[in-house]
């Protein structure tokens, strides 16, 4: 059988399929569907320093071939994560990447510092792009200078592989990607959700409690693939691609565009076994195509 192991800069994954941040909880809910060690990695729920209650409901709404969410980073905070969630994940031999979000730069630094001291975490993913939090999040992620200075500061406090997650709600994602690269990021992941909204006609007001939310799912896939394609041309860093992946053909689009690995988000809600099926289908694809490794197709759409 062809080997699915991938190397993304300093990070080695047993296969290139990750569970995307915020869509897989801390894994517990999916553990009854398949062994979590199957995951290339589990990117755990966006973590903040202090616990966060999240946004008022309604928090989600379906849209054509997608959904909006405005969870607002509900999470148990660093301490809660380390005490309640991490030990269970480690016992299950799950490859763990922690997605972090700060309300300000200091919080990012503290999170990175403290998580670097904890054994058994594979990498950090810096969420620069959560559109559902008032302070922090989005505005960090849309300005190249901000990204540069923040990433450089985080780089100084951690030896963990550093993944920077980019927002698609920008004019020029390649510029932001270069800023992250030049400041010491090891890997870039893209995309986060597109900002959107649905209006409740009967109530004549925005449907979501938070007014706007993040659009995910197949609807955004063409935008996400385009951004991966653009960023691949702009930087030399390995990329993790995501946005609307449901099937192996979707994942292959991202890989051909330049992603060395992919993450599955919203599809987990529709079909809890999406990830193990995708891994099997990638195997089958390599065998059918007579390829020994996915490396041969990463970025191949550029040739």
């Amino acid at each position: 059988m062809a080997d699915l192991e991938v190397k993304l800069g300093p990070l080695t994954l047993k296969n290139p399929v990750l569970a995307a941040a915020g869509t897989f909880g801390f894994g517990e809910e999916y553990a009854s569907f398949f062994p979590l060690e199957k995951l290339g990695a589990l990117v755990v729920n966006g973590l903040t320093l202090k616990p966060r209650a999240g946004n008022p409901p309604p928090r989600i709404v379906e849209t054509p071939a997608g959904m909006l969410n405005a969870i607002g980073l509900q999470n148990p905070g660093l301490k809660g994560f380390l005490e309640q969630e991490l030990p269970r994940l480690q016992a299950g031999r799950v490859a763990i990447i922690v997605n972090i979000a700060g309300e300000n730069e200091e919080e990012y630094i503290t999170l990175a510092q403290e998580l670097s001291a904890v054994p058994g975490i594979l990498a950090l993913e810096v969420n620069l792009s959560c559109p559902n939090v008032k302070q922090g999040g989005l505005q960090f992620g849309t300005d190249a200078a901000n990204i540069g200075s923040l990433v450089a500061r985080i780089r100084r406090v951690t030896d963990l592989p550093l993944i920077v997650k980019l927002s698609p709600n920008v004019t020029d994602i390649a510029e932001l990607a270069r800023a992250a690269e030049n400041s010491g990021a090891d890997i870039l992941s893209l995309v986060n959700t597109l900002q959107g909204m649905v209006i409740d006609i009967a109530a004549r007001r925005p449907f979501l409690g938070n007014i706007t939310g993040g659009l995910s799912g197949p609807a955004i896939r063409p935008v996400a693939v385009r951004m991966v394609y653009e960023v691949y041309r702009a930087v030399r860093l390995p990329l993790i691609g995501m946005g609307g992946i449901m099937q192996v053909h979707d994942a292959l689009q991202f890989m051909l565009a330049g992603a060395g690995a992919v993450a599955v988000g919203t599809a987990n809600f529709v079909e809890p076994c999406t990830i193990p099926r995708l891994i099997d289908d990638l195997h089958a694809f390599l065998n059918t195509a007579g390829l020994s490794s996915l490396r041969e197709i990463v970025g191949a759409a550029h040739h």
């Binding site: 915020g22 869509t23 897989f24 909880g25 517990e28 809910e29 999916y30 009854s32 569907f33 209650a53 999240g54 946004n55 008022p56 409901p57 309604p58 928090r59 989600i60 709404v61 379906e62 849209t63 054509p64 071939a65 997608g66 959904m67 969410n69 969870i71 509900q74 799912g217 197949p218 449901m246 919203t266 987990n268 809600f269 529709v270 079909e271 809890p272 076994c273």
Partner: protein, 260 residues
């Protein structure tokens, strides 16, 4: 908890209301009143997310499950057209369902519209436990009322209300019940499911009565499993409030906890 359930029948029970009988023995054996199924409607990208439906019944002997749903949009429209023999991709049984207390108080079930579904399952379970059960059931009009005879154990006393008075009491089901309380109803345990305004009014009225009251809530859902944190409802915990998930912490909550 991912099952392929086989459609035994689909049937229009009342205007815009359908009865769906599924067979999946393992699922039937595990299901309890108040729990729900999260059903994938077709394999297409629209409708995209699964659709949650309360269990209106489950028979471990026959291996069958019952769902009763009202047409609401594209998903339920497609579901109303599935054919006998089709296979539905179901997650379930999800959620915690109703709490059965040790009390022997009579049970009163209050249903608004499609909210009657989980209460039918509950009624059968309570009658099975030899509890006295009354159902107060409201709908817009006579044509919207489900044929309850078929769906309920004989022992259940039924009280009907319609907005237009075409059947039973004219007005709200909460007012019908409040009338019964005024006329000296003895302490009972309450279980309710229905539109949000109905549950709010009931909770408010119950502040005076102070009966034990469980509510089955609805919220927009993505995963149905507790992973996405999408189906939050604000829950009072002493002085503080916290968000709980309708799918995994509910859908049934004690009325006094719920913050509207």
């Amino acid at each position: 908890m991912l099952f392929k359930a086989c459609v035994e029948s689909v049937e229009e029970l009342a205007r815009h209301s359908y009865y769906l009988l599924l067979r999946e023995p393992q699922l039937a054996a595990q299901s309890r009143p108040g729990q729900f199924l999260h059903i994938r409607i077709g394999e297409s990208l629209v409708p995209f997310l699964r659709r949650p439906f309360s269990l209106a019944g489950a028979c471990p002997q026959r291996g069958t499950l019952e769902v009763i749903f009202r047409l609401a949009g594209e998903g339920t429209a497609i579901l109303s057209r599935v054919k006998k023999g089709a296979v539905l991709n179901c997650l379930g049984p999800l959620g915690r369902g109703f709490q059965f207390s040790a009390s022997r108080l009579p049970a009163v079930l209050l249903a608004g519209g499609a909210g009657v579904a989980p209460l039918l399952f509950l009624a059968r379970a309570l009658v099975g436990k030899k509890r006295r059960v009354a159902l107060f059931y409201g709908a817009a009009s006579r044509d919207d009322l489900l044929p309850l005879k078929r769906l309920l154990p004989r022992e259940t006393a039924v009280h009907l209300a319609t907005d237009d008075g075409s059947s039973g009491y004219q007005g709200r089901v909460t007012d019908l019940f409040a009338g019964a309380v005024r006329q000296g109803m003895q302490p009972v345990e309450l279980y309710a499911c229905g539109p949000r305004p109905m549950l709010q009014v009931l909770t408010k009225k119950n502040e005076a009565w102070n009966f034990p009251l469980q509510l089955s809530l609805e919220e927009r859902m993505a995963c149905g499993l507790g992973a996405c944190q999408g189906c939050a409802v604000s829950i009072r915990q002493g002085e503080k409030s916290t968000y709980r998930m309708v799918c995994s912490d509910g859908p049934v909550f004690a009325a006094q906890e719920v913050e509207w």
